[in-house]
């Protein structure tokens, strides 16, 4: 019968469909993403991951200027988890070098010394270096000799990757240095810690110091010699600079000073073919050029900088922030298309300069068309009022060759952010010497100070040699003040004031320190930041810093 046939066929068909499994159809993969195997199948894949590792100090995600954020969790990627902006805020806002007019969340708590472990900015500042380290660890797991061999990557490509292994270990050490300095103890992960398997451990400040030191020494042979690798990547000079900085602050980090080691490594850098930028270009003085849109040209002085580009490395938290935050209606002078009416400095920094106008010591960059350095202007009557207080025009998105910066809209800056510059090494040498480090001498220290001063005064010592330092002037206080003059807004101040014991105490007060107009001493706990409470919830292995 016809019907029976149909029935039998349909039942058979049906049974087949019911029993035939579709399980394989459930293995799906995103079209435009890569599996880890595919990502690392070629040398160019390694290079793109390496770009991400370096780039995570400048970009905030996989989309410029914002979007596809690296770190989410309710944080604003440009404002709270950008490396440069976070590091700048952490190092400058609680000091005499910066105040902010904005009322964004808890941002005012930093100059007021009121931050708590619940602070969202702290969460971001903690998250960024650790995130960078997580990327690095992953790269190190994938860049072993065995894996390269397995993937048939050989020859020049393999040796470049090998060099990059030393570089990312340097970057890991640098990120850990940020942790040592800001938070003391830290989450501690290496390439041995796999993703999503167990809770990371905590490391003490002293142990982390030793780890950074040993890593930096271990990679020395694998890093490229000074100035021999392509621009943007680190070489031995960066590792030595970080060691010098680490040793200078060893007393703070471990309780045991290491000034002799600081001298040793500062000397290594100084001896390695670096020079201060002197020659004016199109009227831009030597010092100015270091913070301009084409400062990648200053390779002789800048030992390592984090690259930014107005079109290709865009972010609201790299040097784009540094030009906009300081600008108001005078934004054009910053090479920007608008001001954010936010950050100024205090009279304490400005007063380190005998001549605040910048006409003699060129580093005093506080005058714009709208704002000067009159006493009335210097008086910071209201932190919330952008028009009061001295302005800072140090980072400027213009090129020395007068060509246009890369972003035609002038939204995003090209300025590379200098992490290590030669003058810092001079200053470390001098300070370490004054603090008893051996292997240095007074004459050389004085000479180094005068090299800095000579450049600052346009290759002179100014009218009547006012800028020249004499041997009697070379004191620890002088070195600190000189650091202020030379390195302000480059992310050194908090570390310096802590090392000098001036950060929280009443020995040095600046306007609105601790939220009081004339300044006040604050609790010593503020010498290091609080471990963000949310991290301690997520990871019970983490302990809180004293008194938070």
């Amino acid at each position: 019968m016809k019907n029976n046939k149909i029935t039998i066929i349909s039942i058979a068909f049906f049974a087949l469909l019911v029993l035939g499994s579709c399980a394989k159809k459930l293995d799906l993969f995103p079209q435009n993403d890569f599996t880890p195997e595919k990502a690392y199948s070629t040398a160019s894949g390694y290079k793109s991951v390496l770009a991400k590792i370096y780039g995570s100090l400048s970009s905030t995600g996989n989309q410029g200027p914002a979007g596809a954020a690296d770190i989410t969790g309710g944080l604003d990627e440009g404002k709270q988890v950008a490396f440069i902006r976070g590091f700048f805020n952490a190092q400058e806002l609680p000091t005499d070098e910066a105040v902010v007019a904005w009322n964004d969340e808890t941002i005012k708590d930093f100059h007021d010394f009121k931050w708590t472990s619940a602070d969202f900015y702290l969460k971001g500042w903690y998250a960024r270096p650790i995130y960078n380290i997580t990327l690095i660890n992953e790269y190190l797991r994938e860049a072993t000799d065995a894996k390269l061999a397995e993937r048939s990557i050989t020859g020049a490509e393999a040796s470049d990757i090998k060099k990059s292994v030393a570089e990312v270990r340097f970057l890991r050490a640098y990120n850990y240095w940020v942790m040592v300095d800001l938070f003391g103890k830290s989450t501690f992960i290496t390439e041995a810690d796999l993703i999503g398997t167990s809770l990371p451990k905590e490391i003490s400040r002293a142990n982390l110091f030793s780890y950074i030191e040993s890593e930096l020494k271990a990679i020395d042979a694998d890093l490229a010699p000074v100035k021999t690798i392509e621009y943007g990547r680190v070489d031995q000079g960066a590792a030595w600079s970080l060691l010098a900085r680490l040793y200078l602050n060893a007393g703070v980090y471990t309780g045991t000073p290491r000034y002799t080691d600081a001298v040793t490594y500062a000397k290594k850098v100084i001896g390695a073919n670096y020079q201060l930028t002197h020659i004016p270009v199109n009227g831009y003085k030597g010092y100015e050029q270091l913070f301009m849109a084409d400062n990648q040209k200053q390779k002789d002085e800048i030992i390592w900088a984090i690259n930014c580009d107005g079109l290709r490395t865009q972010s609201f938290g790299n040097t784009t922030f540094l030009i906009h935050c300081a600008a108001g209606a005078d934004f054009a002078e910053y090479g920007a298309n608008g001001g954010w009416f936010g950050y100024r400095t205090t009279s304490s920094l400005v007063n380190l300069f005998a001549d605040k106008t910048g006409n003699t010591d060129r580093r005093a960059m506080f005058t714009t068309s709208n704002f000067g350095t009159s006493n009335a202007q210097l008086a910071l009557t209201d932190i919330g009022d952008f028009t009061t207080g001295p302005h800072v025009k140090k980072f400027v998105n213009k090129r020395t060759d007068n060509l246009a910066a890369s972003d035609p809209d002038k939204n995003y800056a090209d300025i590379d952010f200098p992490v290590f510059r030669l003058p810092e090494m001079y200053l470390i040498y001098a300070e370490a010497f004054l603090r008893g480090g051996t292997g240095a001498d007074a004459t050389t220290a004085l000479d180094y100070m005068n090299k800095i001063r000579f450049r600052a005064y346009d290759d002179s010592y100014g009218p009547g040699n006012v800028g020249k330092v004499n041997s009697g002037d070379l004191t620890l206080q002088f070195v600190l003040d000189e650091r202020g003059r030379e390195l302000y807004w480059e992310g050194h101040r908090r570390t310096d004031l802590v090392r000098y014991g001036l950060f929280t105490t009443g020995a040095y007060l600046w306007p609105w320190k601790g939220g009081v107009a004339s300044g006040t001493a604050v609790n010593n706990k503020y010498n290091i930041y609080a471990i963000p409470s949310v991290n301690r919830v997520a990871n019970p292995n983490l302990t809180q810093n004293t008194d938070y």
Partner: protein
């Protein structure tokens, strides 16, 4: 027996034809009348069929019929909608019957998961709303038909935008981070999500024409939903569209025109008030910067952006049968304007249903085809806010027409003025410019089609097999355009911006099922069983195009694709088994098990089982069989486990690397820039969230169901709650990943009552009422013990979090600082109570204060019919819910009037009371009682009855929607679709007046 001439003629003719067609059989003619047992009135249209044959006739207007049969004493079957079917043996050529009105409530067939059930046999908490009970008025999006109709179902429109979406919650939802949206099943095809990407979410339910919907079933407890397994935790809504019928083709045409207007505006200051504030401030400080910026006007910007919006809706449908082919076809066109100028929604839709049967009815075919084309002209989301905050002292005079258009804008002084802003584009844009110079037009085409073949096996009649193949294909494309004169798009390199976006979604389904039905008479037991295999896949294709600049009147050519198509997909494979037992027509037992395997999980976690059991006990049959007072009484008990996988991205479990999205994310080495490759955070262990629901319910009917209703109590416990959880820095490639963390408990009671206090021939009155109480509590948010854990701060303004997930509290409970007030009752800025008395007011003094979720939701509707008039009212209420008045919190400062960027802005009237000079987001001052009652609808209808010589039936109606709201809330509208309870200037819901006509012919 008296037979009229007409009847005689009829009989003769029939006999003649009967004789012609069946000459070989003996013929008997049977006639009689059919009346209503209640009042003896004749019943027309009753089908009288001769049992065992295909012969059937219908009664005429007098209830009379005559039918011919082949035997001497044929058994006649009298059936009619609304009456209990009767069988009579016609012994001597006549049979008159009195039909008993059926227990409509009991006989109603309800669509449930994978099948239908008689309402009286339901064992789960299911509420079905059919077309006649839908919310009336001008309704663009289908889900709004259910507003206030079902206990425990909340439908909250996102705002008044034409064709905009709603938040739908069944029993408050079961999740937090994962979606709380119920699963929507359209004619047997589960559809994914309710939005399609692009710029702003487009509401997919608006693509279904409400006029094509026959019924919507709301499945609330696990015993009803567990058949949908891993997607059922938030309940299920089954939408069934209208089908074809038998007999002559009937047409329906309905048309409606409506006018919408604004009910309430944001309460802001007037130009005079701003002037006096700025002048007073200038007098005090001696600085006249802002005073100089003041204008002389009193402009109400809000009134300039709104309009009376006219809309119309026209539908025509035909249903009936062509030969053996029952069909229904419809065509609808709806055109709705939004109350904000240029906001527009139009929908062209068609639906076709064919339901023929073949091989002696052994093969039933059911084909549904629905197509719709929705075009939305969307307005910029910032218009409402911009109108509230734009300077009322300025008249709308253009500053530089050529450069910045016809509206007043804040431009820096001087001949070469540029927009005032921090970063190029302006920070303040005239709301009218946002309307005039911004355009976002999105088109959505959607085809939902499914073919159901049901085959009854000829040699095994208890078994039938079914194949259901369905495709839901949606494509969205749109163009966004910001004109070159728009201040917010003013850049040296370009003026204006245009962009194009495209996305398609394809959802395909194949279900194969076997149904077995058997009545075992010896055991008085009916068994019905189902075995089903299903595979469904969801594919989304996204295309990204580069933005391109526009001239004032020219559209430059579209840029090439910047990304190849991004294809995102997920799939789910399932087996379902279900057994229903009905014993002695008293005991109902249902047991089911679904096995789901989903592609969103790692192989080890891919499979999960979702069981459910339910028992029903017909107490009426057991104890009250012989009383008429109790017409229905049934006890239901149900238990089941369901899952939730919505809200989990498709590949969250996979280790993978993503490339840079654009050229702005690369890093320079040497002279080259290298794009990024970034490892993504992933959680290999992510698995289904599971919800265990227990439900106890009682259905009752009294006095022949003049009073009927049900009461349900339930407990839902969600485990392995999907939360975007903070992970330890360094443990993953982000500080948060979606993880199964935490638990949630939801207890609730629901009550539904439907009564017909008056049921007379010319006067009827129906009254329906439903109420739901629900209490949701977070019971865990971490995987391990943490001392003094403060919960997860979730929602707020910028980073000031005012909502938390905290153990023991309702989700998103407000955690705020307790405001201190002065003697006259005004808040003292920045002064909060030191609740822990430790001498410092800090974050330890934050306390829990109120919550966004309602304790009780109510729905009420009533319908009065008097002769040819009907009057209906429907409303709903929400009690115990609070809102954070974000508008007041963010616009309450002097610096919003005197903007530091050197322009004047407006603020809410609340500023006069608060006088805050800084933002005080953390204050409990902004948390306000948002309980409300809204009268959704008043409608009045008049039924002309038969017109045009009985060829047609006409009904006209008029309605007012959003009649009034009673509330203490001070903001624009207490009804807010934000789960977090943050109210930030929604698109105001308009009041809509509409009139319509409905013609059946």
């Amino acid at each position: 027996m008296k037979i009229s001439l007409k009847q005689l003629l009829k009989i003769s003719l029939m006999l003649f034809f009967a004789a012609l067609s069946a000459t070989s059989f003996a013929q008997t003619s049977v006639s009689g009348t059919v009346t209503d047992s209640k009042d003896g009135t004749p019943v027309s249209g009753v089908t009288v069929s001769v049992k065992g044959t295909k012969t059937a006739v219908k009664t005429d207007a007098a209830g009379a019929y005559t039918v011919t049969a082949a035997t001497n004493a044929p058994v006649l079957v009298f059936s009619s909608v609304g009456f209990t079917t009767q069988q009579v043996t016609a012994a001597n050529g006549s049979a008159s019957v009195k039909l008993v009105e059926s227990n409509t409530q009991l006989q109603d067939v309800v669509v449930v998961a994978y099948g239908t059930k008689r309402k009286g046999d339901l064992t789960g908490a299911v509420t079905s709303v059919s077309a006649k009970d839908f919310q009336k008025g001008n309704i663009a999006s289908s889900e709004q038909l259910l507003q206030g109709k079902v206990a425990g179902l909340q439908v909250t429109t996102g705002g008044g935008s034409a064709g905009g979406g709603s938040r739908i919650r069944i029993r408050s939802g079961a999740s937090l981070s994962a979606s709380n949206d119920p699963l929507i099943v359209i004619d047997g095809v589960p559809v994914e999500g309710n939005s399609i990407g692009g710029s702003g979410n487009d509401n997919l339910l608006a693509t279904i024409n409400p006029n094509d919907i026959e019924s919507m079933s709301v499945l609330k407890d696990a015993s009803a939903t567990a058949l949908y397994g891993s997607r059922a935790s938030n309940g299920v809504i089954i939408i069934t569209t209208k089908k074809g019928g038998k007999g002559k083709i009937k047409y329906n045409f309905n048309t409606q025109i409506s006018s919408a207007s604004i009910v309430k505006k944001v309460d802001v200051l007037t130009g005079d008030e701003i002037r006096s504030i700025v002048n007073a401030d200038a007098a005090k400080s001696g600085v006249n910067t802002y005073k100089a910026l003041l204008g002389n006007a009193n402009t109400d910007w809000q009134s300039l952006i709104y309009r009376n919006a006219i809309g119309n809706d026209n539908n025509i449908s035909a249903s009936g049968a062509i030969g053996i082919l029952p069909f229904r076809a419809s065509l609808g066109y709806s055109n709705q304007n939004g109350v904000i100028k240029t906001d527009k929604f139009s929908r062209l839709s068609t639906a076709i249903n064919l339901s023929p049967k073949f091989f002696d009815d052994h093969l039933s075919v059911n084909l549904n085809f629905k197509y719709s084309n929705v075009v939305r002209n969307k307005v910029d989301g910032g218009v409402v806010g911009a109108a509230a905050s734009f300077d009322p002292t300025q008249a709308n005079n253009a500053i530089n027409k050529n450069k910045f258009g016809d509206n007043f804008e804040w431009i820096t002084p001087g001949p070469n003025g540029i927009p005032i802003g921090t970063n190029g584009g302006s920070v303040q844009t005239n709301p009218l410019s946002l309307i005039d110079y911004k355009n976002d037009k999105a088109k959505t085409n959607r085809i939902i089609t499914n073919l159901q073949l049901d085959y009854k096996l000829p040699f095994f009649p208890d078994l039938h097999a079914q194949i259901n193949v369905g495709v839901d294909n949606t494509s969205l494309s749109g163009d966004f355009r910001a004109d070159s004169v728009l201040v917010s798009e003013y850049f040296p390199s370009r003026r204006g911006k245009s962009s194009h976006y495209e996305q398609t979604k394809q959802n395909s389904l194949i279900d194969l099922s076997l149904f077995y039905t058997k009545e075992i008479k010896s055991l008085k037991t009916k068994v019905d069983a189902l075995l089903l295999h299903s595979f469904q896949s969801f594919v989304t294709n996204e295309k990204s195009f580069a933005d391109y600049a526009t001239g004032k009147d020219t559209l430059l050519s579209r840029n090439a694709l910047i990304n190849p198509t991004n294809k995102i997909e997920n799939a789910i494979e399932s087996y379902v088994g279900r057994v229903n037992l009905t014993v002695n027509n008293k005991y109902l037992i249902t047991a089911s098990l679904r096995r789901d395997a989903g592609s969103k999980f790692a192989k080890e976690n891919r499979v999960s089982y979702f069981p459910a059991v339910a028992l029903g006990w017909k107490l009426k049959e057991e104890f009250f069989k012989n009383t008429n007072i109790i017409s229905d009484l049934k006890l239901r008990l149900g238990w089941g486990i369901t899952g939730n996988q919505d809200g989990i991205a498709n590949y969250d479990y996979l280790a993978r690397y993503s490339t840079s999205v654009n050229a702005g994310a690369s890093y320079q080495f040497g002279n080259s820039f290298y794009g990024y490759l970034r490892p993504q955070a992933y959680n290999a262990d992510v698995r289904w969230e599971t919800t265990t629901t227990s439900n106890i319910g009682l259905d009752f009917g009294i006095l022949n169901n003049r009073i009927s209703g049900s009461i349900d109590a339930y407990q839902k416990k969600t485990n392995d709650l999907l939360l975007v959880a903070q992970v330890a820095p360094g443990a993953n490639f982000n500080t948060e990943v979606l993880a199964n963390v935490g638990n949630l408990t939801n207890n609730g009671i629901e009550f539904t009552l439907n009564t017909s206090p008056i049921k007379k021939k010319d006067f009827t009155w129906d009254l329906g009422f439903n109420m739901a109480y629900s209490s949701v509590e977070v019971t865990n948010t971490v995987n391990y013990e943490v001392a003094n854990y403060q919960g997860i701060a979730t929602s707020g303004v910028n980073d000031t979090k005012v909502g938390r997930l905290y153990v023991g509290k309702s989700p998103y409970v407000f955690s705020v600082s307790k405001q201190v007030y002065d003697a006259s009752g005004n808040p003292i800025e920045g002064l909060y109570e030191d609740l822990n008395r430790d001498g410092v007011v800090d974050d330890k003094d934050v306390y829990f204060y109120k919550k966004p979720a309602a304790d009780i939701t109510l729905g009420v509707n009533t319908q009065v019919g008097y002769k040819k008039f009907t009057l209906g009212l429907a409303g709903h209420a929400s009690i115990g819910n609070y809102l954070y008045n974000q508008y007041d919190a963010t616009s309450a400062r002097l610096r919003d009037i005197k903007n530091p960027l050197n322009f004047i802005g407006n603020v809410g009237r609340n500023y006069l009371a608060s006088n805050f000079s800084n933002a005080r987001y953390e204050s409990d001052y902004f948390i306000q009682n948002a309980s409300f009652f809204r009268l959704d609808n008043i409608n009045l209808g008049y039924n002309f009855g038969a017109i045009m010589k009985n060829k047609a039936n006409l009904r006209i109606s008029g309605s007012i929607q959003n009649v009034f709201v009673i509330t203490k809330y001070k903001g624009l509208d207490p009804e807010n679709s934000s789960d977090q309870g943050l109210d930030n200037n929604i698109y105001p819901r308009p009041r809509i007046i509409s009139i319509g006509a409905n013609l059946d012919f």
